[in-house]
Subunit: 295 residues, 6 copies
Amino acid sequence: RLYHPALTAVRAMSASGPTPPFTTLSISQPATHVTHVELHRPDKRNAMNKAFWREMVECFNQIAEDPECRAVVFSGAGKVFTSGIDLMDMASEILQPEGDDTARMAWHVRRIITKYQETFSVIEKCPKPVVVAVHGACVGAGVDLITACDIRLCSQDSWFSVKEVDIGLAADVGTLQRLPSVIGNRSLVNELALTARKMYSDEAKSCGLVSRVLPDKETVLTAAMEIAGEIAARSPVAVQGTKINLIYARDHSVAESLDYMATWNMSMLQTQDLMKSAQAAMEKKTPKDVVFSKL
Amino acid sequence: RLYHPALTAVRAMSASGPTPPFTTLSISQPATHVTHVELHRPDKRNAMNKAFWREMVECFNQIAEDPECRAVVFSGAGKVFTSGIDLMDMASEILQPEGDDTARMAWHVRRIITKYQETFSVIEKCPKPVVVAVHGACVGAGVDLITACDIRLCSQDSWFSVKEVDIGLAADVGTLQRLPSVIGNRSLVNELALTARKMYSDEAKSCGLVSRVLPDKETVLTAAMEIAGEIAARSPVAVQGTKINLIYARDHSVAESLDYMATWNMSMLQTQDLMKSAQAAMEKKTPKDVVFSKL
Amino acid sequence: RLYHPALTAVRAMSASGPTPPFTTLSISQPATHVTHVELHRPDKRNAMNKAFWREMVECFNQIAEDPECRAVVFSGAGKVFTSGIDLMDMASEILQPEGDDTARMAWHVRRIITKYQETFSVIEKCPKPVVVAVHGACVGAGVDLITACDIRLCSQDSWFSVKEVDIGLAADVGTLQRLPSVIGNRSLVNELALTARKMYSDEAKSCGLVSRVLPDKETVLTAAMEIAGEIAARSPVAVQGTKINLIYARDHSVAESLDYMATWNMSMLQTQDLMKSAQAAMEKKTPKDVVFSKL
Amino acid sequence: RLYHPALTAVRAMSASGPTPPFTTLSISQPATHVTHVELHRPDKRNAMNKAFWREMVECFNQIAEDPECRAVVFSGAGKVFTSGIDLMDMASEILQPEGDDTARMAWHVRRIITKYQETFSVIEKCPKPVVVAVHGACVGAGVDLITACDIRLCSQDSWFSVKEVDIGLAADVGTLQRLPSVIGNRSLVNELALTARKMYSDEAKSCGLVSRVLPDKETVLTAAMEIAGEIAARSPVAVQGTKINLIYARDHSVAESLDYMATWNMSMLQTQDLMKSAQAAMEKKTPKDVVFSKL
Amino acid sequence: RLYHPALTAVRAMSASGPTPPFTTLSISQPATHVTHVELHRPDKRNAMNKAFWREMVECFNQIAEDPECRAVVFSGAGKVFTSGIDLMDMASEILQPEGDDTARMAWHVRRIITKYQETFSVIEKCPKPVVVAVHGACVGAGVDLITACDIRLCSQDSWFSVKEVDIGLAADVGTLQRLPSVIGNRSLVNELALTARKMYSDEAKSCGLVSRVLPDKETVLTAAMEIAGEIAARSPVAVQGTKINLIYARDHSVAESLDYMATWNMSMLQTQDLMKSAQAAMEKKTPKDVVFSKL
Amino acid sequence: RLYHPALTAVRAMSASGPTPPFTTLSISQPATHVTHVELHRPDKRNAMNKAFWREMVECFNQIAEDPECRAVVFSGAGKVFTSGIDLMDMASEILQPEGDDTARMAWHVRRIITKYQETFSVIEKCPKPVVVAVHGACVGAGVDLITACDIRLCSQDSWFSVKEVDIGLAADVGTLQRLPSVIGNRSLVNELALTARKMYSDEAKSCGLVSRVLPDKETVLTAAMEIAGEIAARSPVAVQGTKINLIYARDHSVAESLDYMATWNMSMLQTQDLMKSAQAAMEKKTPKDVVFSKL
């Protein structure tokens, strides 16, 4: 039988507001070792404003350091996952960059883009796996965000759109870089990125953008919580080493990745978790019956 | 509602003959900003002869420089897409290379292969997206060709074969290099490349070689025209930047690709297209209602 | 009609015991130019003990040098493909590494891991294509093994589990490095590696881990033999060059891979096989009618 | 005649104490657009304590953002440049890492190393060129530090030692990674890193570790100021683009680096500085006669 | 005794004018298998105008295909090697790029830079070694040019300057990309590129920019001719394979480069030159006594 | 004062014959933790015959595993270091490769080259540093050999020649791949590889091929022994980690190399050697006074 958080916990998961000092994110601990991060600007369709970009970095840096957290669920409050960038809030920064000539404005623009890219790269740099639960619209920068997560689920009513080409700009905070390794079909990646057409949940499942489709927002959150619970119950040494090596392998040759793995494990195999897990396995117990030290 | 070229235009798309000075390609402008390139040797099942390899380079170099063209449709005239290399025409060059000893013949052979590889690499180097519409047979070098295109569609009666292993040669103008990133299933790639078996349209769809299957040649061409139309209606700054960055990302790590993207956009975000597109979006218009400058 | 080994041959394929000097592998030649390697510890559910790791290296080095062998089928004797590492046999080596301090133990551990990684890397370094036929359980190191094979088939009753995270260790002999390029769906790869959940044959087919599902053990072996027969009938120059270039391409950019291919073929295109194959094609014969020289 | 800061300014350069809020660094502006960072723990031979590692990151992040600063001089207060790590202050963190088992301690250690590596990587990430002026001893982490600087000068009495191997540890904050591309003689790099022997200023000059040797501390600082002044007088668009592209080129192939350069310059060539500089050149003026906008 | 072109030939090497159809280059064959390319705009101090960039590509493409040519000497006519870019002639193209907005102008600028970069990359792509003989000034784009050559000599009166930073632009046709691997002293590279200071022949020799300094223009040309003669006398299979593999190795890891070399030589070792050379060696003859086939 | 092996030991170092089972190598332990490998075919000028290539691999694999050995000295017996390949002994294998057609012969040739490359790559894969002492001639494959060593010394009478181009073959067992990173002067590398000219000890020192020149064979051996002794006296954890990370850094970007270093040290910093070394340093002892555990 699967790990099962009380449904009441799930229902309570959409918080009543952001968690101070954050103004766009609500943070909670719905289960042991699981952290829930909710994008919380429901009246703005969770549009990403200036505060959001800064808070994401702070939030995931904290999670990376928190030994109590072993898995993360990310979702959006309200009717949709996110409508993408909050154009109104951010227009000035992007459309009227500072600087006395084109080169200086370009310099300033590059600095801003690099800062925004960092927002989603922190998800990857955080060694705790991130399960994202999408419902409703996931547009523009929303796609950039979810491609940086580790496991993607969505509800039946979800749809996705690589919207950037429609506002005259090549997607620049991660979609073009990560989507091709997420979807195993480059023809489709190209079509989505070049035409900005909507993709619905069924196609998202069949092309591999998400690994499961659930009926609605509540069930997709429950499923995400279950997966996060499964992960949190396992040895954090094994889990976080797995995430780090999977990301390393994406960007290196197999020979380099094997060498990195061997170097990584020369200490990591000396963990007590190995002995504890092996013992549990022989006694027909599951990892959930084992208590692992903090990491 | 989608962009819709007059059906008559589509019907007229299969030209009566090659466009001088080309002898194997027919070039036309079926819609604004869309160029149609048709492989036109129908009585030879569009087999690729010596002239073809040279003309492809010339043709796509012209398209790359033509500011009127923003998207390309590629198809084959007659009953099939292509039967691959024209062995008769090319036999002498490949089978009886010049040179006084093995090393000198090898040197000559390498020069020829490099030249042929360039034929399909020009498709990738051309910043305008290329939508390919396949019908009937797509054999040998035909697979090399379509893997270098950006978006692949085919008709119900299409079939594909990585034929090279059957004529005693490892495929060498791009299939082994590009197919694995096109199809998300390496076991299948290996099977196709090692046994030369036929793959039909349904499997081509499910494995990601094509992103859509249409009933017949006419509808697949119409669909390709529609997608090309969608692309051509969008900001060429955004579209061509997207293609260039997608190809860069395939061959580099995510960190390198993000850095390249930021550097690219430090000037590209200063385009008027961004303002025009944003304004259109706020006025509930689509990109098609916007007039973008030439690029 | 496909190549068809006598069913009796297939039935005979599960040998009565290992082939000396091997103690865990049974080697046979069920058809011309085809070698069958069977993992043979059926009473231990084909668990991988210390002898196995050493014998795999020796076995595949021999196959790599054997000019009579042009394709390999790999399978498991008895009820299941493999239950993975034989924890009992290997525990001491991994769990109680030699060394006076943490660094020295770490050094020793790295040497062991590197040796085990080599066990499966020999499959990739062997230029003859390897078709693997899975039935029943394929757990832990079994997944590492099959991701290093070229073509993967399984029976209806097969299931797969990236088990390592359950025994407190990040998978380290190839799964994390090779699985992501085998399966075109990173969200699924992450889920499998992080939760250790079972994946059944249907999902294995749809995600690309295997390219075909057959009814039972006998039919999956027959199908593997057919594919191996198809491959063995073709020019070994073409086939083995194809395998080497496919693996090179996985780990390099397209431009580098094209350059390598051209360099490779400057001698390989000078083979007589090309002429023989071309002639056969013109006479409407198949590769099977051609006799190719040894390689 | 070279740019010449008043000698009095140079004499005043060794400050009376750190600049609050820093406790280990003294920051000043000895000339227009030039920032002087002085490592200031003279009574501790400028040993690097915990505060230092943190302050370096903060200091260089500020410099990176400061539009008034166009070049940096780095030096050490007192009798020597630096004696390296302050073992007393840092021993607990490195020698007694937190964690319940070897794997957890290893995890913690890796986090610390990564943090320390970042200390010197900020010098490279800062786009303003850094000229380092060494005098007396430059030991251990001091070598890591100077290899991350752009231009290296030293006084006659300087000596260098890659000390880490003597305290039982492979150098890990940058020396092994950067020294080989700094010194054009790998045999010598290996000898220095493996035997920890002293290298004096003459050998440092002949092997390329420093590009100039000056008589004493005062003259080496004057020379560093002059070079920094030369750099600060030039177009910041050109100078900082040069640094960024030089570092990019070290870690990429020539083809990749050329492509990056072209992308970089598509906006940077549109600077007014180009016209201003060209005009000055035609009027036989030098860059120092031109006023460039802030960057 | 060294190969010795008649001094009269050397004296005659500075031609009376460009070789049609070229307007900036003079081409001659001063010795068997040696081609001399002279930059010939002496009254403009060999400044590089628009015609030059185009003609270099054409010239070196011809040389690459010419089986009679086995080595190239490159020099400049008149008083100096080159003063770099002809600002007057090229100003319009660079300073006033076409395009309706910044992004479009940027696009156009990138195309121009890429074209100029190609001018010097052809030297590297040409498999015949290029020996460059510098005398007098070698400024700006002149440094880009010589870093793309294989062997660099200069006369006593030569001086070099990476001038670009003085005209407000980061060097963009190859200096920043190639100079660091040419000079074994990154501190010096940075100083040269950031301050644009002059470097004289002695320093150029000691830092490795040139491998020999000769008294004057005549002797440097003679020495270049001798080296070219030495090279031209050897097996073209060996020589050109050496150049190609040296350039490959610069941009790849040692393991990749060894693999490429093995693949290269699987045909190249089958040359008759090997037997001819070995025989000559045993008969105490030199390569000059052997007649090699054309390549 | 430096570590000093008794001169008698050095004199005894040139053994009376190979150490069985080796026929071309003599192995001894002249000092604690130091292994001396001598190439021992003095009557054949230490030419490398078939046995040599095989024995090198065996010898260095043994050394890699031997916990008593911490540093290696490599030298040649008799009058010269080595005259390179023994053409007579190896001619048949290289000049008359097996195989029915060009492709099959090519295949065989590649296998041989790969085997020979491995001969010198084992030196690099062995984690113990190798100090090579050259005297007299070091020709052809001798240069391939020494570039794979870590520290290079030579006697005054030494000379070097990249001879391969003279026998019609591009150097293929490591020179073209490793020499450019050894010598900081690509113009010189190209000249040596393309003209096969002799380089004497003075130039070898100034260009960085060797790091020291000693008067004669005896003193160069003594110096090599001293350096090996210095290395052997230090923590083997630190020394061997340094070698492995230096080689990793040569083939990867700085960012990748820093990451690898941090991963490496997460276990290696937990060594007792660190504490022992730190304590010794505080008590003003040297590493030689410390007893380190075996590795």
